[in-house]
Symmetry: C2
Subunit: 224 residues, 2 copies
């Protein structure tokens, strides 16, 4: 049984990717990073989502990113925007997916995993540079050179199966695969119980996805 | 004044690279990673080396890599070899330079640094895959795609100025630049005061470097 690291954030996209890897018959190692994010309840969601499968090992890596001030996701003095903004938004965390993929690469080498699955998406997304296909391709190339597995001729490959899908397509596929989106938290400023604000970019993209998919939105909103 | 992140481990190579960046007129931001390494005194050395310059900002990022069992540098149940071994040695920490460069990339973006300096070396080294020129080139390519700075046309570049130098050449250059190697700790199992074992791969390479350079070895050894 082929092993895969799956980067899980507790959100909708990574829950779908975990379901895809699991349905593909991979032995899944779910990895979440506690980087001091504002939306702590997503880490609880990541564990909940991983645990619903009896055979997925979930681990959390603690990384102190307080050095990275200025992002609305790590710096409590920066407000989360509740309306669309121009360019790369302040919720951008510098080099986040590079850091997450690096950690996944290390763990992959330790457990002997051949693949890393990431829920990056470049369609209904916030415009982060490290969610684009060319970034994933460049990290995949790096992976072949970065590790012992790579120089021994068996590089760890990066899979981004939902990168070109719309949010509605992601939701439809996940629903087919049995994902319970009520367990997931996407909101950038979810409260401690995981209730969503319904106003931030992430909430907006998520809700529109359920509407376009013609499915009920199971999100628990603060105002509901 | 152009800003640069310099990855400093407390060892000989990164102390030389910090001196090179400083001599190049860069405003240096020195970054060390506390990843639970066995040789904790290298972190003290990294701070000492950085502080000798009055104008270098030194920061430490804490990252819990206890997940990465099996390396002699992070797992106290694995002994540090005291004789040369075949292939990639057990002191290899999976994806370490990928993780370090990712963290440097994030900090570079936060402070507006244009460059990252790393003391990777592929001549007198332990055979780690992530010390080779092709790895550095691949990370540099990734950097152009991974960040906001990159997509805005001003990518953060990776500099590895000693990658093709012998240990003796590194020592000669650093000595010219005024590096006090007595402040540095290279040993994989240095004691809490930074005294070196004199037996591990890192000690062996370092000592041979001073001999080849025709310079006194200022290392403080346990047995001395």
């Amino acid at each position: 049984m082929s092993k895969a690291i799956v980067l899980t954030s507790g959100g909708l996209d990574s829950a779908t990717v975990l379901a895809i890897a699991h349905a593909d018959g991979k032995s899944c190692f779910s990895l979440s990073v506690d980087y001091g994010q504002r939306h702590r309840s997503e880490l609880v969601a990541a564990e909940r989502v991983s645990r619903q499968y009896g055979d997925v090992l979930h681990r959390m890596v603690a990384l102190d990113l307080s050095l990275f001030s200025g992002s609305a996701l790590t710096d409590s003095s920066v407000a989360v925007p509740t309306a669309p903004t121009e360019g790369v938004p302040v919720t951008y965390v510098p080099a986040r997916n590079t850091i997450f993929l690096s950690l996944a690469l290390g763990w992959a080498e330790v457990v002997g995993a051949q693949e890393i699955y990431i829920g990056a998406n470049a369609v209904d997304y916030s415009g982060y540079p490290d969610c684009r296909p060319e970034f994933i391709t460049a990290f995949d190339a790096l992976s072949g050179l970065a590790t012992k597995a790579g120089i021994e001729g068996d590089p760890i490959r990066v899979q981004a199966p939902i990168i070109n899908m719309t949010k509605a397509e992601i939701i439809c596929l996940g629903t087919e695969l049995g994902v319970d989106y009520g367990l997931t938290v996407s909101c950038y400023q979810a409260d401690t119980d995981g209730a969503a604000c319904g106003k931030c970019d992430s909430c907006r993209l998520r809700h529109e996805g359920f509407v376009m998919a013609g499915l009920d939105d199971p999100t628990h909103y603060v105002s509901a």
